[in-house]
Symmetry: D2
Subunit: 328 residues, 4 copies
C-alpha cells in the first residue's frame, strides 16, 4: 500500500484526493493547505486523514511515498524539489513549473534521486485523446496537416499565470502526446489583456512544427460560452474533437482534399474535396484522473517512465515560454 499526500486543497486538490483515496493501492494519509477553512472541508470528506498547514510534516513522514502538488504554479518548483530530495515520488499539476530552467532542474533531481516525477497533463489520459493518438499512429488519418483548437470560457482570472499557461497548456500537452513530440519551427502569437489586468486573458497562437504541421490555438477567459473544440486535419481523414459532448467526443470524417495534376496542363493542379461517412468510435469513459493515478502507481511499482514525465512537462513549459516571448 502506497501512502500519499495532497498538497493544496483548492480547485483541483479535492479531485486528486478523491482519486488517490479511491485507488485500491493507495492510502491517502496527509492533506496540506495553508487555509484552515479548506482543511475543514478536507476533514468533512476525509475525517481519517492527517491535516496540516505545513508541508514539512509530510516530508518528515518516512511512511509517505507520494507527494501530489496542486498549489499555485509559482510554488511548484520549491515544493516539488523539496519532495524529490526527501525521496518522495512526485505528482505535479500542470504546468510543471514557471520556467524551463526550473522544470529542467526538477527533471535532473528526479533522475538523480531515482524517483518518479509525473506531470498532471490530465487530457492525455482521457479516452478521447488516447483514441486520437491511436488513430494517428495506425495511419488512419494519413499525414496530419493541422491541429486547430478553440478553448474558451468565462474564466476565473488567474493572478499568477495568463490564459496561455492556464488553457493553451492543455493543447500543447495534447499535441506533444499525439504527435510524439512538439518541435517548433515558427511561432507567432497575439494576446490581449483586459481591463487593466496584467495577464493576457485572450490569445491566438500559431505554430509551425518542423514537419510543417500547422497549429492554431485560440484561448480566452472572456467567452460567454464554454467551447472545447479541436479540428485535426489529415491527408486521409479528419477528426473533430469536441470535449463538451457527453458521448461522441471524437468524430472521424472520411473527408479530405485531394490534389490532382491537370491532365491537360502540367502547370495546373486541381484541388478537389471528397466527403464520405462519419464515424464516432467508442471511447474508454473512465475518469482520466483515475487512469492517470493507476498509471502513476504502475510506474512507481514497476519502475516505468510515466507518459507525462518530467521531460514532457519540461517540453510543454519550453513551448509556453516561446509563446510568451512571441507575444512581446
Amino acid at each position: 500500500m502506497l501512502k500519499a499526500s495532497v498538497i493544496g486543497y483548492g480547485y483541483w486538490g479535492p479531485n486528486l484526493a478523491r482519486n488517490f483515496n479511491n485507488n485500491p493501492e493507495i492510502q491517502l494519509k496527509w492533506i496540506v493547505d495553508s487555509s484552515s477553512e479548506r482543511l475543514r472541508k478536507a476533514f468533512l470528506s476525509y475525517p481519517f486523514v492527517n491535516l496540516s498547514t505545513n508541508i514539512s510534516d509530510v516530508l518528515n513522514d518516512d511512511e509517505i511515498d507520494i507527494v501530489a502538488i496542486a498549489t499555485p504554479v509559482a510554488t511548484h518548483f520549491k515544493l516539488a524539489k523539496d519532495a524529490l530530495e526527501a525521496g518522495k515520488h512526485v505528482w505535479v499539476e500542470k504546468p510543471l513549473a514557471r520556467s524551463a530552467k526550473e522544470a529542467e532542474e526538477l527533471v535532473k533531481i528526479a533522475e538523480k534521486k531515482d524517483r518518479i516525477l509525473i506531470v498532471d497533463h490530465t487530457f492525455v489520459y482521457t479516452g478521447a485523446v488516447q483514441k486520437i493518438k491511436e488513430l494517428i499512429d495506425k495511419g488512419e488519418i494519413g499525414e496530419v496537416i493541422y491541429y486547430d483548437s478553440l478553448r474558451v470560457n468565462l474564466g476565473l482570472f488567474q493572478t499568477d499565470v495568463n490564459v496561455i499557461w492556464d488553457l493553451a497548456v492543455h493543447d500543447i500537452s495534447i499535441i506533444d502526446f499525439i504527435f510524439n513530440g512538439i518541435k517548433v519551427k515558427k511561432i507567432m502569437s497575439v494576446g490581449m489583456t483586459y481591463a487593466n489586468h496584467l495577464k493576457e486573458s485572450l490569445a491566438s497562437i500559431n505554430l509551425v512544427l518542423r514537419d510543417n504541421k500547422y497549429i492554431h490555438i485560440n484561448v480566452s477567459w472572456i467567452s460567454p460560452v464554454k467551447i472545447r473544440l479541436a479540428l485535426i486535419g489529415g491527408s486521409k481523414k479528419m477528426i473533430v474533437y469536441d470535449d463538451t459532448e457527453a458521448s461522441e467526443k471524437i468524430k472521424v470524417y472520411d473527408r479530405g482534399v485531394e490534389v490532382i495534376q491537370s491532365p491537360e496542363d502540367l502547370y495546373k493542379i486541381w484541388v478537389q474535396y471528397r466527403t464520405g461517412d462519419m464515424w464516432a468510435p467508442k471511447l474508454d469513459n473512465r475518469e482520466a484522473l483515475a487512469v492517470e493515478v493507476d498509471h502513476f502507481v504502475d510506474c512507481i511499482k514497476n519502475g516505468k517512465k510515466p507518459i507525462t514525465d518530467g521531460l514532457a512537462g519540461l517540453k510543454v513549459v519550453e513551448v509556453l515560454e516561446m509563446i510568451d516571448r512571441s507575444l512581446r
Copy 2:
C-alpha cells in the same frame, strides 16, 4: 418596372436570378454566361429570359436598368466599369474588386455617372446581423471588447482568390457594418497553403482597431465540418452568433467580466465574472438576398445610398489587402 440582367450563372448567379425574378418591381430580362451549358440551365428555369454569351448585348440594351455581376473576382472591375459607364445601376458580388485601386475607381465612376453601385455583402442583410447591430447601437452589449470568428468548411478551392478573400471577407463586411466602420491600428496574420496550391487555404487573422477592439478571424477551406461561429464580447453582455443554427442564430448572454478595485490594496484589482440569463431574440427570417434586392430597388427609385455601397466595398477590399500584406 426595372429591367435587370445577371452576368455569370455559376454558383451564386442562380440565386441572384431567382431573387431578381421574384421581386415584383423587377423584370429579369437577360442572363449572360460564357458557358452554353450554364445558359441551358438558365433557360430551364427562365425560358422567357434573353440569353447571351456576350455582355455587350446587355450594355447595348437601353431598356436595361440593372446589371448584376456574379463572375470571378478578376473580372469585376472591367465588367462593373463598363456597366456603370453604359449608365446602368450595378450590383457586384463580394469582394468588389481585386484591389483597392480598382475599387476606388469604381466608386468614382459611379459617383460621376450618378448610378447606384451596391456590393453584395449578403450577411449584412440577414436578420441576425441586423439584430447584432441593433443591440450594439442600443448599448445593450456595452462597449464591445472583441469579435472572434470561426468560419471553416470543406471548401471548393478557388483558383483566383485565397481563403481570406473568399471567407474572411464576410467577417470584414459584418464588422464594418456593426461597428460603423473598420479602422485598423494593428494587423497580424498567418496563412497556410496546402498541397502546392498557391493560394492560402487556411488563415488566422488578428486585428486591433483604433478604438482597441480586438478582432480574430479563423478561416479554412480544409475543415471536415462547416462552422460559422462568432463570439462578440461586450462590457455588459456577450453575443454568440451561430449561423448554422436553424433558428436562434443569435444568443445574448447576460455574462460579463467586472473589474473591481480591491478595497484593501490600491494596487490590487480583482476581476470577477458574472453569469445571468440567456436570451435569443426573434429574428427576421426573410432570405437576406430578397431583403437586399428590395433595398437596391429602394435606392434606385428614391436615390438613396446603399448600406453596402461602393465605399463599403472599397473599405473591405482595403482591409483584405492589408491582411494579405501582413501574411508575407
Copy 3:
C-alpha cells in the same frame, strides 16, 4: 418532352412547380389555382406558363401528360378522378384521399385507364429514408423491434384534417416503405383538441404490427420547437434519424440489448446491453422532390410502378382511418 400542370399554388404547389420546371424532360405548361393573388405569384416566377382558375382548361388540353394535385385533401378525389379519366398521369399530394373508399376507387380508375398514379410521400425519396431501408434490407440492423417517432412543431392549424392526417401520415408512409408494408394487429391512440378547434392538434399513436414490431408516433401542432426524431431499434443495431440535422441525419449505433439464459437457473434470464461505435453514413442529399419527379418521369416513360403508387397511398389512408377510429 412531357407537358405538366400543377393544380393548387398554395403552400406546397410552388415546390412542385419548381421541380417540374427544373426537370429536363418536363415542360411546365399550366398552373391552376382558385386565387388570383396566388396566380399572380405564379406569374412572377413563371411568366411563360398558362394560368387558369379552372382545371377544365388543363383537362381539355390534349398536350398535357401530367396533372399534379396540391389542393386541400377534400378535393383530391374529385380532381384526381377527373384527371385520370381525362387520360392524364396523376401526381397527388399526401394523403391520397379523405377515405380508403375514395383511395380505392382512384387506384381502380388508374388501373383501368392504364395511367400512372403517384402519391407524394416525399420522405420516402429522401436520402435518409432510402438509407434506412437499405440498412434494414441488408440485415445490418437485425430484426426491427420498434419505430418511435416524435414529430412536433408549432403548426398552422388545418381546417380540413387533424394533426394525424397532417403529420403522422409521414411516419405511416415511411413505415410502409422501410418495412415493405404495414399490417396492423393492434392500435391504440389518444388525441387532444385544443381551444375549441374541432380537429385533434396533438396525438399519441401506438400500433403493434402483425410481426410484433411496435410503433409509437407522437405528433403535435402546439410544440414550441420543431422536432423530427425517430428511433429505430433493431436486435443488432439501432438508428437515430434526426431530420432537422443539416448533415448526419442518420446515425447508426452499434448498441443493443442481449438476452442471456442464466447458466445457474433455467428460470432466470439476463438482459444485458452493449455499446459500441456510432456511424453516420453519407447520404444522397439531392432534394427529395427532384428525385421523386425523376422517378415519376421514369415510371411514365417506361411503364414502371411508382414506389409510392396508388396502393401505397391507399394503405396509408387505411391506417389513418384506423387511427382516427381508435381515437373515439
Copy 4:
C-alpha cells in the same frame, strides 16, 4: 450533529453516502449492504464509517438519527417500517414502496411516530424543476395545456420493476410537484416487453388530469441514445426542458397558439400561432441531492414537512399503480 446511516451501497447508495458525508450538520456513521464486495468499496471511500451486513446494527444504535434506504424497491416497505418504528427519520429512494397500500402504511407510521419521512424524488430538487414551478406559479406560462416527456436510454434492465416504475416515476413526481398535485381523470397506456423479459421495457403513457391538462410520457430502456426532453405547453408561453444540456436546461419560448373568433362567421374560429423571443433563465446548479439533504436536515431540526414527503411518495405510487393497471 445528526448521525446518519445508508442502507444499500449499489448504484445510488454511494451518492447518498457522499452527500450525507459532505453535509456539515451530518456525520455518516453506518453503511449497510448485503455484499461484502460493496462494503469493501465503501471502506475505501469512508474508512472511518462502521460497516455491517445487518440493518439491526443500525436500528439498535441509539445515536443514529437518520436511516437512508437505497435498496431494491421490494425491500423499501419492511426496511422503512422498521426504521420508523425504531424512532429514526427515514429517507427512502423512489419509488416509496411497491404498492399504494404499503406506502400508505408508511405514511401512517411516520405520522404516529412523529418522524420525518422523505422520498428521494431527486429531480424535484434540481434548479431546472424548481425554475419550472416558479414560472408556472408566477403565471408566466399561462394555463398549462400539456406536459410531454421523452425519457429514454439504453438501460440496465431491472428485475424488480418495469420501465414505468424506473423512469416514468421521475415525470410523475415532477408533475405532482410543478402542478401542485396530480389528479388523474383518464389514463391510457401501452407497454412492450422485450425478449422474454417479464417487465415492460418500453411504454407510452397518456393521462388526462381533472383540470384537463394532457400528459404524455414516453419511456424506454432500449433506446440507442439518452434523451431527457420535456415540452410543457402553456396558453402564454412554452417550455423546453432538456436535462441532457450542460447549461440552458430550461428554454422559455414566447410562442403560442391563439384562438380567434372569425369576425365574419360566428361558427368559424381561427387558430393562429405566434413566435417571439426565447429565453433561458439562469438556474441554480447546485447538485440536487445536496439541496435535498439540506432540506431534510432543515425538516428534522425545525419540524417542517418535506416537499417530497410520504404523502407525495404515496400519490406517485398510486399513479404508477393506475398506469400498470391500464396496461392490462
